[in-house]
């Protein structure tokens, strides 16, 4: 069997160019971040990270919040998700680490959230100093809650407070994402899965009864 030899080939130059690109790519994901907010140029985990490892916050890119910022994050997260009958406080479940990892990540969505979060942290400390002459983290819980009461209202006219309220929503959502990632968080919200089992029974009878349902798949 013969072959047509007139086929287009890669030029030597193309091969070399490709090699250079491949070498660069093997060290860095195409996702290079160039920060606005003094974020060190970090890279993402790439399109082929080892997914079956167990990671800690900061394993892929450095955490970047200052000790001051972390103090505020910790205090705020604990007001939003305090210790109570449903479970421990946010800081005990390392929610601040998650938020730090999030705002330090080199991806577009996280970079946008970084701007929101950093501005919000500044706002909340300035406001706390204006009202109480102290940083947010050093306020009493009542004082902290009074600030959160303002931020959790929906109908602000002042554009600065509106922005801060939007920060509060973002921050709450991130904190919840972090909190409910943990075994304690699962307990708090009522998730009981991720355990292997020989059979799947479906919803318990009590649940079916409450909802007026019948299990239609009989064994």
């Amino acid at each position: 069997m013969e072959t047509h030899e007139s086929l287009p080939r890669l030029s030597r130059r193309q091969v070399l160019k490709w090699f250079a690109a491949a070498a660069a790519a093997s060290q860095a994901s195409p996702f290079m971040a160039f920060s606005q907010d003094s974020l060190p140029a970090a890279v993402g985990y790439g399109s082929d990270p080892k997914v079956n490892d167990i990671y800690k916050r900061g394993d892929f890119w450095p955490l970047t919040l200052s000790p001051e910022q972390r103090k505020t994050v910790t205090a705020l997260a604990d007001v939003i998700l305090p210790a109570d009958d449903l479970g421990p406080a946010a800081s005990q479940l390392r929610v601040p680490d998650f938020i730090d990892e999030w705002v330090s990540a080199p991806y577009p969505k996280q970079q946008r959230d970084r701007e929101t979060v950093l501005a919000g942290l500044t706002w909340i400390n300035e406001e706390s100093n204006r009202q109480f002459k102290k940083d947010f983290a050093d306020l009493t819980i009542k004082q902290q809650q009074s600030l959160c009461d303002v931020l959790s209202k929906q109908d602000h006219i002042d554009s600065k407070i509106r922005q801060a309220a939007s920060f509060f929503r973002t921050f709450t959502s991130l904190s919840m994402g972090a909190y409910y990632s943990t075994p304690e968080g699962w307990k708090a919200i009522g998730y009981t899965g991720n355990v292997p089992s020989a059979t799947f029974a479906g919803p318990p009878q009590e649940v079916l009864d409450k909802l007026g349902l019948e299990q239609t798949v009989k064994s």
């Binding site: 490709w18 399109s47 939003i80 109570d84 709450t172 994402g177």
Partner: protein, 599 residues
């Protein structure tokens, strides 16, 4: 997965197979068990689900809680490696800047392709689906009937293992007795939808999915699949015994290290390799089908990605199964004196009539599900129930403003939380402290989403061609996509939206989001459901199709296409089970040709 490097390849093979997903995996399985010597070229790296799958990893153990990022479009643990909406250095382009005409292309670049993370929904096309034009005058007929392909659906289901029930519904074929595995129990969301469906006349039944709810019967199935072939029976039996039944935890999209669901890498490739008849070359990006002076295919030209060099393998027959879009691209890029417009393209139809699935969804919040007693709802890592299309008669009677059907996939309820907030912000807005935690617990698990998966009719404005200027990092021309929905698809999406609204209301629930004004508000972009099929359709006549009903190209007798490129239409039934059935049938044809010395 045992692989070879280019330098270890043999001087000639019986068959070269491009791609290791559903189509390529099935082809390699059938051919090698029958004794043919095959080489498989796979553009991605080798991948072993047994050792690489993150089964029980949780959100507190993954970067960003495992949420999706541009590096991993479907989240950290999704078993897509080096693929997704963007593949660096391998662009594709859009013919239009109009958002409504955008085509989005999900590509895999790994051993096993998209079968590592697919949803495992495995539905047979029914009799109408092959003869749509005869039935309603639209689209095209396939050159084959349901009865002709049926034995291959039976075989594929027996091999991969599919759970579900036989409901005897119109154009929703039953499987022979004993073929299906038992269905899993309904979850709360399934049973709620089923009950509400009764009120609004929408049937809800167990879905069919390629997940083992009990071990395969390794003692009897192999003899049914490979009668008279003792060696094949032994290999397949051993391979079946190595697969465990589902243990009712861990999302299937991560892959399955115990091989309880179908992946090419756990079901097709291991027995094929066991025969000793298969060499797999990973990181081998096929560029062109090589054609000899006699007009027959004699091998494949590819880029060895480990060196960047062009290489060749020789074979007596070539099978393309690189996923429909990529196989179209290879055909169009295989140009020579005999085939100036691309190999097998004398009809001019290569790249034409590409279809995706009509996708839209609606979410509801169901007060009855609030504060439910916690219970484990993980189940089989994917859907348990669905609604097959139920309005065939109304449609035929002209009562609907769209021609073809959709099925409903049910999404819900008590999924593993973490990463993103488990409750939409609207439900906890303005709250913090213990009140927030209580409300999160109240609403968690109270949401149900219903998704439309419907048939798109083939049209003249949805096709792919080579971009005249843009090339990938190896200098290979890339595809440029044209896309346009017609009123059939847009009206279908609106019908689905109204149906979903009525089901959610029948559950006493509240619909989330603002109502759509037109189908364009809700339909997902072309390609977004990742069921792109067509581009090299089969037919009765070489002037009007690219290949015959055996997936064999008219122009080059020893060139076969066994991904979804030969699909003539795209029934609402997800395509993969059909890809495998046609691939097996085509493989039997190749084996027969080889026996007769015709390769």
């Amino acid at each position: 997965m045992p692989t070879i490097s280019v330098s270890q390849s043999k001087s000639e093979y019986d068959v070269a197979i491009v791609g290791s997903g559903a189509g390529g995996g099935q082809m390699a399985y059938t051919l090698t068990l029958a004794g043919l010597k095959c080489v498989m070229l796979e553009a991605g790296r080798s991948y072993d689900p047994v050792t690489e799958t993150p089964m029980f990893q949780t959100a507190d153990q993954a970067p960003l809680g495992g949420v999706s990022t541009p590096d991993k479009d479907m989240g950290f643990w999704d078993s897509t490696i080096d693929g997704g909406w963007d593949v660096p250095g391998e662009p594709y382009t859009q013919a239009s800047t109009n958002k409504d005409q955008e085509f989005t292309w999900w590509r895999a670049r790994m051993m096993g392709g998209r079968t590592n993370h697919w949803g495992r929904i495995s539905l047979r096309n029914g009799p109408y689906d092959f003869k749509g034009r005869s039935r309603d005058g639209l689209g095209f007929d396939w050159p084959i009937t349901y009865d002709e392909i049926k034995p291959y659906y039976d075989k594929v289901e027996m091999l991969i293992g599919v759970y579900g029930t036989n409901e005897g519904m119109e154009n929703t074929p039953d499987s022979p007795p004993g073929v299906l595995q038992p269905p899993p129990k309904g979850r709360v969301g399934d049973l709620m939808t089923q009950k509400a469906g009764k009120k609004v006349c929408v049937p809800v039944v167990p879905i069919h999915r390629a997940v083992l709810t009990r071990p395969l019967d390794a003692n009897t199935i192999p003899a049914k699949l490979h009668p008279g072939n003792k060696k094949a029976q032994k290999i397949v039996g051993d391979s079946m015994r190595a697969r465990a039944a589902c243990f009712w935890a861990t999302p299937c999209g991560r892959g399955c290290s115990i091989a309880a669901n179908y992946q090419s890498t756990t079901v097709h490739l291991p027995p094929a390799l066991k025969t000793g008849n298969l060499d797999i070359i990973p990181n081998a990006h096929a560029r062109e089908v090589l054609i000899g002076k006699n007009g027959k295919a004699n091998g494949v030209l590819f880029i060895d990605k480990t060196t960047g060099k062009e290489e060749r393998v020789k074979a007596k027959a070539v099978v393309l199964a690189a996923s429909s879009g990529e196989s179209v691209r290879i055909l169009l890029n295989s140009k020579n004196d005999q085939f100036p417009d691309g190999v097998a393209n004398s009809s001019g139809l290569v790249g034409k009539y590409i279809m995706d699935t009509v996708g839209s969804s609606l979410k509801g919040q169901i007060p009855a599900l609030e504060n439910l007693t916690p219970h484990n709802d993980d189940g089989a890592g994917g859907s348990h129930f669905y609604s097959p299309w139920w309005l065939y008669k109304e449609q035929l009677a002209g009562k609907l403003d769209f021609a073809r059907g959709y099925h409903i996939e049910i999404g819900g309820t008590r999924r593993m939380p973490g990463g993103n907030s488990p409750v939409p912000g609207d439900y906890t807005r303005g709250l913090y402290g213990t009140k927030l935690k209580k409300e999160a617990r109240r609403y968690y698990g109270s949401f149900i989403s219903l998704a439309c998966r419907g048939e798109m009719l083939p049209n003249d404005n949805s096709f792919a061609e080579l971009d005249p200027t843009v090339k990938d990092k190896w200098g290979i021309p890339v595809l440029r996509w044209h896309w346009k929905w017609t009123d059939h698809e847009l009206n279908m999406a609106m019908h689905a939206e109204r149906t979903f609204g009525s089901i959610i209301e029948a559950m006493g629930g509240n619909v989330l989001g603002t109502p759509a004004k037109t189908g364009l508000d809700i339909i997902r972009a072309g390609g977004n459901v990742k069921h792109e099929v067509g581009g090299a359709r089969m037919g009765e006549d070489s002037k009007d199709s690219v290949c015959n009903s055996m997936n064999q190209t008219w122009d080059v007798k020893n060139l076969f296409l066994t991904d979804a490129a030969p699909f003539v239409t795209n029934a609402d039934k997800n395509p993969t089970l059909s890809i495998m059935a046609f691939s097996w049938r085509c493989a039997d044809h190749i084996i027969e040709q080889a026996r007769q010395g015709n390769l």
